[in-house]
Amino acid sequence: MNYLDFEKPIAELIEQKEKMANAAQKSGVDVTKTLEELDGKIADKRKEIFGKLTPWQRVQVSRHPDRPYTLAYIEALTAGSFIELHGDRTVKDDKAMVGGLGLIDGHTVMLIGQQKGNNTKMRQYRNFGMPNPEGYRKALRLMKMAEKFNKPIITFIDTPGAYPGLEAEERGQGEAIARNLLEMSKLRVPVICIVIGEGASGGALGIGIGDRVLMLENTWYSVISPESCSSILWRSWNEKERAAEALKLTPEDMKQHGLVDGIIPEPLGGAHTSPEEIFATVKAEILKHLGELSPVNADERITRRIDKFCKMGVVVEG
């Protein structure tokens, strides 16, 4: 288990508990009561710390190395029925974007998302969850397939941004994202988008045009990362905490401004402390929203989707 800097007090208590349990096992002394007390303390500490996370701490949790990534959600939701599909049919298969068909409680759905890696080797293999244009084109190809066979689409957003590389520019990163925005807004099947980690800018939005856009509790979504914002507006990397606050990137802020449709609660301490719990919650949310969206006529659903995004913005007349 990895702990973030502000989680130190929790880590210390857990360590204390483990030591005591080990010692008790050796000596045979009954410490059940003390262990229970420590469990209580750990829970209290978690509540105390996670009850008042700052926006920057929220960003840190969203990047927690133990956090479940897209494929973990997909595997759990589809209970082993997932069939991954590869390639954009033009250039190559982008490992930072995954997708395929699966069954959720007997319903066939298309599942798509950015994928990060769990260790150094896999992080490189997945390009740190930063797709190239072919990733966005693969996502669109799969979405079009879902539309053709009338299957709902679920996207999982978790990216520090679209890859800003040389080949990405040559192959039209901007065009690939733009095309997805246009095409997703008129897909004839229900689309649910869930931010499960980082929602950075156009790279996130490129699979983020949905009838429902939901955010897990410890995630962020904005036009730029707090670090880059700090470097541009304050000309220093040190103002990331202030930038995180100014950007209003937390799920609560985004919901309050009507820029996302809902927040999915996480287990206390973050999704990674109890993956099974978060998988169950996400599954229930997906089924609930599909239940609401599926009966709606496709034209009506598209109109509502487009209207929703067109209402976003604050202007002053006069």
């Binding site: 800003p164 008129k186 490129g206 730029i224 202030r242 401004h257 976003m312 913005g313």
Partner: protein, 281 residues
């Protein structure tokens, strides 16, 4: 002692009598550093006669280049930015807006107008780089959305002239969502079979490239314009190498298949006119 005695009189013209060269009589090209008379430069549509460098110009100049007799009706001229997030960095956003409005005489980074090109109706949305780097916030998104509604209602073709550093950071996720908003509206325009021409000028980057700028039925670039998603500095940092010559210029983007055509400013109106004729006949 004639060494110390001034035999010839020195220059004695008093400051008052000095002849002033009027300011701005000459234009010096930022690219080739050659000079030409300003009026010639203006007549040449702000393009250097020596090296064809296309100077950055604003919406007023583009409207003049495009519309017959420089006549047009501006659409939604009075929209200005709110400050939904009460954003403050080294300055607060509200005062940044007021300052930019004073400095540029503009309300925000885009103006839209309905005019006539060789007798054919056209709605043009044109970005102004002079207003916070032509950044796209709620006003830019809303004006484009309303212009598209106008085009849909009156069945008039649309042209958007992009010139922008990307999304406006001070409106954070609101500016991000303008990408979704404008693209969704363009989907409706496309479904209605109304032509949309995108002109990408120097510079077109970030969220603008990743939304309406790249979504034209025709994507046209001005010569030598910087066009890309990530800025050249960011790409250079990512790859840790110098960028190839001509990287992210219009010519590069055309070569890679993302522009239909590169059109010089002096050919812009005739080209537009012919295209509109062919689309509509």
């Amino acid at each position: 002692m004639s060494w110390f005695k001034r035999i010839k009189e020195g220059i004695t013209t008093s400051t008052k009598e000095k002849k002033e060269t009027p300011e701005g009589l000459w234009y010096k090209c930022v690219k080739c550093k050659k000079i030409c008379p300003t009026n010639e430069h203006v007549l040449n549509l702000y393009v250097c006669p020596h090296c064809n460098y296309h100077e950055r110009i604003g919406s007023a100049e583009y409207f003049e280049v495009i519309f017959d007799n420089n006549e047009y009706v501006e659409l939604d001229p009075n929209l200005s930015s709110g400050d939904p997030l009460e954003f403050t960095d080294t300055k607060n956003y509200k005062s940044r807006i007021v300052e930019s409005q004073k400095k540029s005489g503009l309300k925000d980074a885009l103006r839209s107008a309905h005019g006539v090109v060789d007798g054919r109706d056209l709605v043009v949305c044109c970005m102004d780089f002079g207003f916070i780097g032509g950044s796209m916030g709620s006003v830019v998104g809303e004006k484009i959305a309303r212009a598209i509604d106008y085009c849909l209602q009156k069945k008039i073709p649309l042209m958007i002239i992009s010139k922008s550093g990307g999304a406006r950071m001070m409106e954070a996720a609101y500016s991000l969502m303008q990408m979704a908003k404008t693209s969704a509206k363009l989907a409706l325009l496309s479904q209605a079979g109304i032509p949309y021409i995108s002109l990408l000028t120097d510079p077109t980057t970030g969220g603008v490239t990743a939304s309406y700028a790249m979504l034209g039925d025709l994507n046209i670039g001005e010569p030598g314009a910087l066009i890309g998603f990530a800025g050249p500095r960011v790409v250079k940092e990512t790859i840790g190498k110098d960028l190839p010559k001509g990287f992210q210029t219009s010519e590069f983007v055309l070569e890679h298949g993302f522009l239909d055509k590169i059109v010089s400013r002096k050919d812009l109106k005739p080209t537009l006119s012919r295209l509109l004729e062919m689309f509509q006949s």
